[in-house]
Symmetry: C2
């Protein structure tokens, strides 16, 4: 949290109640959170920001690479930038399951960095298919 605090300050942001609660929520869940879920979790903490405020916070945090935004099946999801994993997305029930696969892309990223002169900050890897329940 300390490093986050300084990152935010460096970005010209202020550590407000909303931002703090938002980061706590994202830190406590080790998975992708939708806006609706974020709002629910904030409510549990008795933090009920206006929608525009929440949206503006999310834009700020994404812009400064403090959190990542991914869109899966038309819904936006957020997670802390350093909490990175991959996902299995069920095309039947839309459930999203985490899957851990460490270092699998390191070589490819090095290759891309050299070959394409592209400075990689992050990546997104999602597998789409059908979970056990939804297989007919």
């Amino acid at each position: 949290m300390h490093t986050l605090h300084s990152t935010i300050k460096k970005s010209g942001g202020r550590l407000t109640k909303t931002k703090q609660a938002l980061l706590e929520v994202l830190a406590s869940q080790h998975c992708l959170l939708s806006k609706a879920t974020i709002i629910k979790q904030l409510q549990r903490k008795h933090v009920t920001p206006n929608r525009s405020t929440l949206y503006r916070e999310l834009v700020f945090l994404v812009k400064h690479h403090i959190i990542n935004q991914s869109t899966i099946n038309g819904t936006d999801y957020f997670e802390l930038a350093h909490q990175h994993h991959h996902h299995l997305v069920c095309l039947g029930c839309n459930n999203i399951e985490r899957v851990d696969m460490d270092n699998h892309l390191t070589k490819q990223e090095q290759y891309i960095t050299k070959q394409h002169q592209f400075n990689i900050i992050n990546h997104l890897l999602e597998f789409y298919g059908y979970c056990q329940k939804c297989q007919n």
Copy 2:
């Protein structure tokens, strides 16, 4: 195109002017196309469907796995399902560059299929970062 035709018929769809032109557009471009780009390309072919018609076509084709839909930085992109590649997405200029990496995920997919009892249909792999121009 022939196989696509039969796939569409099997799915209960009809080969209309719009659907045909849409598939031609997607087949001619070997990259992700946004809705706006699709509309422009259709116009060149003098096919100008109503927005709702186009959206309905896209929903149909995605639903039947004839095309893939990916959302990158908040914009929806489409491509023929068998035309699969990965992308470098520039966080500066939003440009999307294709990158070919064959078979890199085969082993992982086999592992996931067994370990998670998950039937993989497709996957999405995107690298986010800064292209040569946007590196300061």
